[in-house]
């Protein structure tokens, strides 16, 4: 009972600290950011609970009826009330497919960013803190990769890994390959920023103090330096998420990302693009709108976060 109370008090305390913080204050004062956060939240909920929330299951072939293919949205002539945003060429409900598609986009986006943050921040920490030949090797590697556009690197990795995999695994592994490709393509940016911040932090007194009392370098890096450089990394990761979602959509649109059987926003746009000339604009329009809305919301949050965490602008 007492334990319960104390944990309740802890949650209370944490909630109070969040609401009382500068960050929350600047957040609540900025209506555009609040709207962006709500939109992102809605996307995450809709994507996470798509199997329960979506009006139809676009992956269940039994529920598809080719007679209902290419139905326009409900407010147009011939629209059907059960398909709010119409159906695509195979009779899949567009709204449900967008929900399932955002799922793929968000999973790939978040995982790819996590991957590049993990690799980039890790290597940046090592390079900045330890210095020496390790620093040279890691940063030269980053330089070489930065010399080539990220989208091309993602395309190459995606293409090559797909060739290396046995054909029967290609479809089920496609998402992991995509995450790897996008994640690898973006790590040098994080490495550079992390290294820059670490070089500043390393000369501060608290690091010297920790070194003097004999704390293990790895512990200093992770528990002392890392928390102090998380600000810029967080900002980059937010904008990186928008970038990763666009990259995923682009690769899928180009037909090298996820297979057509698992519709992401990109593959939906690709399919719909073929029907643009026959007048079925909704097949491609709604996924495009969803993609742009999501990316815009995440970008706006990233912009806000950059200003909010910048001590110069306080």
């Amino acid at each position: 009972m007492i334990e319960n109370q104390s944990s309740l008090a802890k949650i209370n305390d944490l909630a109070f600290r969040i609401v009382d913080s500068d960050l929350f204050y600047s957040f609540s004062r900025n209506p555009i950011v609040v709207v962006s956060a709500v939109i992102t939240f809605v996307f995450i909920i809709a994507a996470t609970f798509a199997p329960w929330l979506a009006p139809h299951n676009p992956f269940d072939p039994a529920s598809l009826d080719l007679m209902e293919a290419s139905t326009p949205p409900v407010w147009l002539e011939d629209g059907m009330s059960k398909f709010m945003l119409g159906t695509d060429d195979q009779g899949r409900d567009i709204l449900s497919t967008i929900m399932f598609g955002s799922r793929v986009s968000l999973i790939v986006g978040f995982s790819a960013v996590l991957f590049s943050v993990f690799v980039g921040v890790g290597s940046g920490l090592l390079a900045g803190y330890l210095g020496g030949w390790l620093d040279t090797v890691i940063m030269r590697l980053a330089d070489v990769q930065l010399a080539i556009p990220a989208i091309l690197i993602a395309l190459m990795i995606n293409g090559v890994v797909a060739i290396l995999l046995p054909p029967q695994l290609q479809h089920e592994m496609a998402i992991y390959v995509l995450i790897l490709a996008i994640g690898v393509s973006d790590w040098p940016r994080y490495a550079r920023v992390t290294r820059g911040s670490v070089l500043v932090e390393r000369n501060k007194e608290y690091v010297a103090a920790a070194q003097v009392i004999g704390v293990h370098p790895l512990f200093i890096m992770l528990r002392h330096v890392l928390p102090n450089i998380m600000g810029p990394v967080l900002v980059m990761a937010t904008i990186g998420l928008a970038l990763a979602i666009i990259t995923e959509a682009t690769l899928s649109f180009l037909g090298v990302g996820v297979p057509p059987t698992t519709p992401s926003l990109g593959t939906m746009i690709r399919v719909g693009n073929n029907y643009l000339f026959s007048g079925e604009w909704w097949i491609t329009f709604f996924p495009c709108t969803a993609l742009v809305t999501l990316v815009l919301a995440v970008n706006l949050m990233g912009d806000w976060l950059r200003d909010a965490l910048n001590p110069k602008l306080r």
């Binding site: 330089d143 080539i148 091309l152 491609t284």
Partner: protein
């Protein structure tokens, strides 16, 4: 200055070596090149002979040296898919891509810089604000969405511009140009706008923030105190000093224009290298992929090097530092 350029050149060389190593390993270790070249019925002896012929049994370094030697001569083998030399395929499609990239670069610079200067000089006017809101769209809309939107408006809706291809091309020696025919000009409008929009926003925002910073400096105030006309202050004093970062970004973006032309070319079925590359990825056509990678790296690295050298021409501070150092 020479030491600086030599150092940069070495860096460029290092990038090229790593890239060609990667593309060589693609070539040799992804899939079996022999399998890809001989038919299904080839006997074991034929395969061994082919292997010897291609030099696949030589030591790694010898093979790599041969690959680099061939690459320098522009030989990248035979495309698995089309069964023609990769060099020919790329030479055929290069003019289309380069014309598209050059048109977009011109568009983005010619529109981006004036808008950036204007929004920097008058940050609070309504026109500046609308330009900035508009630029947010340029950052957010993915390239292919812009392309689809343009096609829907101008090809499907209004029916004034073609949605694919590059119109009639005129052959000038080995170079085929679309700039000499009306259909060619019409065809390049939408792809180049699509490709330019993102770069334009970046240039606009960069010029704007640089201008805002420069306008706050003392020497601008002094120029105002001297009673110089606004024209001279804005362009002669302020804009000139924003040029260094602008040149860097414009230069580096030329390379990413080539990379992003992959997407634009796919949307508009533009017969360039990017379209070739995407088809190659789809068909696991390794020689084309490897050649494209090396090509892009060469372009990128030479632009980087060129930009570095250009710094000396534009920024007298760099020259001054070196002469002082040399004088000592």
């Amino acid at each position: 200055m020479i030491a600086y350029i030599i150092q940069r050149a070495f860096q460029a060389l290092a990038v090229m070596i790593v890239v060609s190593l990667v593309s060589f390993m693609l070539f040799n270790f992804v899939g079996d090149p022999v399998d890809n070249m001989v038919g299904q019925e080839a006997t074991y002896e034929e395969r061994v002979a082919m292997r010897d012929n291609l030099g696949l049994n030589d030591p790694f370094l010898v093979q790599f040296a041969r690959f680099v030697g061939n690459a320098v001569k522009g030989e990248f083998g035979i495309s698995y898919r089309i069964q023609r030399p990769v060099a020919d395929l790329i030479a055929e499609r290069m003019p289309a891509t380069l014309e598209l990239v050059i048109a977009s670069a011109f568009l983005s610079v010619l529109l981006g810089i004036p808008m950036g200067v204007y929004t920097g000089i008058r940050p609070n006017s309504w026109l500046s604000r609308s330009i900035l809101v508009g630029s947010l769209v340029g950052v957010t809309l993915p390239t292919f969405v812009i392309g689809i939107l343009l096609i829907y408006i101008f090809s499907v809706g209004l029916g004034v511009l073609p949605s694919f291809g590059r119109g009639e091309a005129v052959q000038l020696g080995w170079w085929s140009t679309g700039f000499l025919t009306v259909t060619g000009w019409k065809a390049i409008i939408m792809p180049s706008v699509t490709l330019a929009l993102f770069q334009m926003t970046i240039i606009l925002r960069l010029v704007r923030s640089e201008m805002l910073e420069v306008m706050r400096t003392d020497y601008i105030k002094f120029a105002r105190a001297r009673g110089l006309p606004n024209q001279i202050i804005n362009f002669g004093h302020a804009f000139k000093n924003t040029l260094v970062p602008v040149i860097t970004i414009v230069g580096l973006n030329l390379g990413s224009l080539i990379a992003f032309s992959i997407i634009t070319e796919t949307v508009f079925q533009w017969p360039g290298m990017g379209f070739l590359f995407i088809q190659a990825v789809g068909f696991a056509d390794i020689p084309v992929m490897a050649a494209y990678l090396v090509m892009v790296a060469v372009v990128f690295v030479s632009i980087n090097l060129f930009v570095d050298i250009l710094y000396f021409v534009v920024d007298p501070r760099l020259r001054a530092d070196k002469t002082v150092a040399a004088g000592n």
